[in-house]
Symmetry: C3
Subunit: 273 residues, 3 copies
C-alpha cells in the first residue's frame, strides 16, 4: 500500500476511533487547533498546568507541544507531559514555533529535545533549520518561505537523523522524512500563509493521526496532506472573498475530508535523499 493509501485509510480510522489529543499550545491559535481536531475526526483537550498536564497526557492518544506563546509556567508542563508520554508510549508531536527568534525559544527547544523523545517534528524551513542546527534566523511565526524544496529535503533529513524522529517541513512544497524514507507533498495553497494558525493546525491534525498508532512517518504525511488538500478546496471555494471566508472554508473542508478525497486529491511522491 502506498503512503497515500495508508494516509487515506488513517483518516477513516481516526473518524471511527476519535482519538483524544492533548495540546499544550499557544493562545493565539488554540481555538483553531481544537476545531481542526474535531473537524478531522479527533477529540481535543487542552491543559497546561503542571499539576495536571501529565495526568491529561496519560488519558490521551497523542500529545502536541507547541511553543508559539510559551511561558515559564507552561514550559515546565510541556516537559512533564512529554516525559509521561514517553513513559506510556504515547506519540509526541513538537511544533517549535518561532525557534531561532529568541533565547527563550531556543533554550526551550533544546530542553524539550533533550528531555522528551519526539515522534514528529513539524515546522517551517526556518524553524526546522534552527532545530537541526543549520541556521538560526526567523522572521516572525507566520513567515512564508520560498526556499527551494531541495533545501527542505536536506534539512528534514538532517533533523530526522539528528533527533531520530520523523520531520515534516511545511512550505510551498511540504517534505516529510524519517531519515530513511522521504516524500514531497505538493498540496496546499499560498493563501494558507495569509491566515494565522495553519501551521499549528497542521501539527494538531498530525497529532490526531499519530494518535492512531500508525507509524509516525505515515501520520505526518497524512497530517500535512490533509491540511494541504483542505487549503486547496478552501481556496477554490472562498479564496476570492478574502481571508475571513477562506478560514471558514478551510475548517469546512477539514470537516468534509475523507479517505476517497485524500486518494483522489493527494499529490505525494517519494523523494530520494
Amino acid at each position: 500500500m502506498s503512503v497515500k493509501q495508508e494516509a487515506a485509510k488513517l483518516n477513516t480510522g481516526m473518524r471511527n476511533t476519535v482519538p483524544l489529543v492533548h495540546n499544550i499550545t499557544n493562545y493565539v491559535t488554540v481555538n483553531d487547533c481544537a476545531n481542526a481536531l474535531l473537524a478531522i475526526g479527533a477529540s481535543p483537550i487542552m491543559a497546561d498546568d503542571m499539576l495536571e498536564a501529565a495526568d491529561i497526557t496519560a488519558i490521551s492518544s497523542a500529545l502536541v507541544i507547541n511553543i508559539g506563546t510559551l511561558n515559564q509556567r507552561t514550559i515546565e508542563s510541556m516537559i512533564l507531559a512529554g516525559k509521561r508520554a514517553n513513559e506510556l508510549g504515547i506519540p509526541v508531536v513538537f511544533d517549535p514555533v518561532g525557534a531561532g527568534a529568541s533565547k527563550l525559544r531556543n533554550e526551550t527547544t533544546q530542553r524539550i529535545l533533550e528531555q522528551v523523545e519526539i515522534s514528529i517534528l513539524r515546522g517551517n524551513l526556518s524553524e526546522v533549520s534552527y532545530v537541526a542546527g543549520l541556521s538560526a534566523s526567523t522572521k516572525g511565526v507566520d513567515t512564508s518561505e520560498e526556499d527551494s524544496d531541495k533545501d527542505a529535503l536536506a534539512v528534514a533529513k538532517t533533523a530526522a537523523e539528528k533527533l531520530s524522529c520523523t520531520v515534516a517541513v511545511t512550505g510551498a512544497v511540504d517534505v516529510v522524512s524519517d531519515g530513511a524514507r522521504a516524500v514531497r507533498i505538493f498540496n496546499g495553497h499560498p493563501m494558507l500563509s495569509k491566515i494565522t494558525g495553519t501551521g499549528c493546525m497542521a501539527s494538531a491534525v498530525t497529532g490526531g493521526y499519530a494518535g492512531m498508532k500508525q507509524d509516525a512517518f505515515t501520520a505526518a504525511a497524512a497530517g500535512v496532506m490533509s491540511m494541504g488538500i483542505a487549503g486547496e478546496i478552501a481556496y477554490e471555494k472562498a479564496g476570492h472573498m478574502g481571508t475571513g471566508s477562506f478560514r471558514v472554508a478551510l475548517m469546512d473542508a477539514l470537516s468534509m475530508l475523507n479517505e476517497q478525497m485524500i486518494e483522489e486529491m493527494g499529490k505525494i511522491e517519494e523523494a530520494k535523499h
Copy 2:
C-alpha cells in the same frame, strides 16, 4: 406564565438591559464566549488576575466560572471572584469542564463548591455526574454522550439537591432541575458537539440570563434553550457546508434570536423527578 414564556421574555429583557457578565474561563473558547454574550444581548468582560477578579465581579451582573484550562493562578481568582459575587448577591454560573479527568480539576471543583455558593451548574452528563459524586469518568471535554435523558434527569436532581442550586445537564436532550422543578429541552443538534465551545457558550449565555436576576431555574432553561434553538437554525442553514460555516451560522442565529422565536421554536416540557 410557562417556563418557555418566561425564558422568551427574558431574552427581550436582556437585550434591553445589556447585563455585564464577568467570565473567568478557558483560553480555547473565550472568544466564542465573548461573541456569544454580545450576540445574545449581554456584554462580556474577561479578567482573571487575583488582583482584579473580585473588583470586576463587583461591577458585573453575573459571574461565569469555567475550568476548561484552569491553572494555579486563575484558580485563586475564581475563588476570590466567587466569594465577592456571593457577598453582593451576584449569581454564579459554574461550568466544571473536564471534571473527573484530572486530580487538579477534581480538587478545584471541590474547592469551588465548598467556598462559593453556585447559582447554576452547567455541564455534560459525565461532568455533572462527577460533581454529584455519582461517577468519575470523563473522556475529554468535547465528548458527546448518548446516555439516556432519564439518567440526566436523575443526575441533575441529585446534583441540584446536593449543591442547593439549579443544574443544567446538556446532551442529546437537555435537562434543567433545581431539585423541586425539572424540565427537558429537546432543542439542539448533534453537530453542536462537532465544534468546540458550544458547552462553554451555553454557560456564558446562561450567565447573561442569570444576570437579569430572574430565578436561576428560568435563566438556565433560557440559556440552554437559546443555544439549542440557535444550533437548529445553524444546522438548517449551514450544516451541509461543514463545521466552519456551522460555527458562523451558530453565532448569526444567537444574534438574531428573539422572544418570538423562542416562543415558537422552544421545545421544553416539564419533567417528573
Copy 3:
C-alpha cells in the same frame, strides 16, 4: 498630500514591506488581532514571557500593548518590551482596555505611561478619558459610547498633550489628535460594537501602520480609517445575516482593502481644536 492620501499610500507600503508587529495582548481577541494584521499586510508575533518579550520587540517594527486580560506576569513583560522599544526607536501603540474598571488596570496604565513612551494611544471615550484624568467610569470593555464627538475631540487633545503622543478615540465618530493636528473620521458602523475585538483589532492594525515609520498621526488615522471602512463593507455584505457572518466579512474586507479603496471610501476631515 492630504492625511487620507498619505494613509492610503501607507496601506500599499505596508503590503509591500510586511512589517513584523509584536503584540502583548489579551487572550480574548488575540486570534482576531493576528488575522487582522495578516489581512492588512503586516506579520504578527505574540510573545508575553518576560524572558523573551524584549527580544521579540527588538526584531519587530512596532509593539502593541493591550491590557484587556492583563495579569501580574504579563504586566512586567509589557514594561520590559516597552522600554526596549523606546531604546530602539520602535513605535509603541497602547490600548488601555477597560482603564477605569479596576485598581489593577488603573495602576498598570499609570505604570506603563510613566515607564514607557507611547507613540499612539487608542481607546474608547471612557478609557481615554480615564487616561487623560478626566473621568473614571467604565462599563465593561465592549461599551459603545454615544457621547458627542466634541467631547471626544477635547479628550483626545487633552490626552495627546498630557502624554505627548498621538491619541485615537474611537466611537460613533472617531477622532485622532496629536495635540496640534486633529481629524474626525466618519467611517465605521454600529455593528462593529456587536462583536468582540474590533477595538483591539484597530489597535493592532494601527501597530502595522506605525511599523512603517510614517509619523504616528498618519498611522493612527490609517488604522482607524481602515477598520471603519472594513466595517462598512462588512455590514453592507453580511450585516443582515448576523454577527457571525459580519465578523467573517470584516476580515474579508480588511484583507481586500487597498490604497484606492481608502482614497474613495475614507471620510476624514480636519478638526479644529
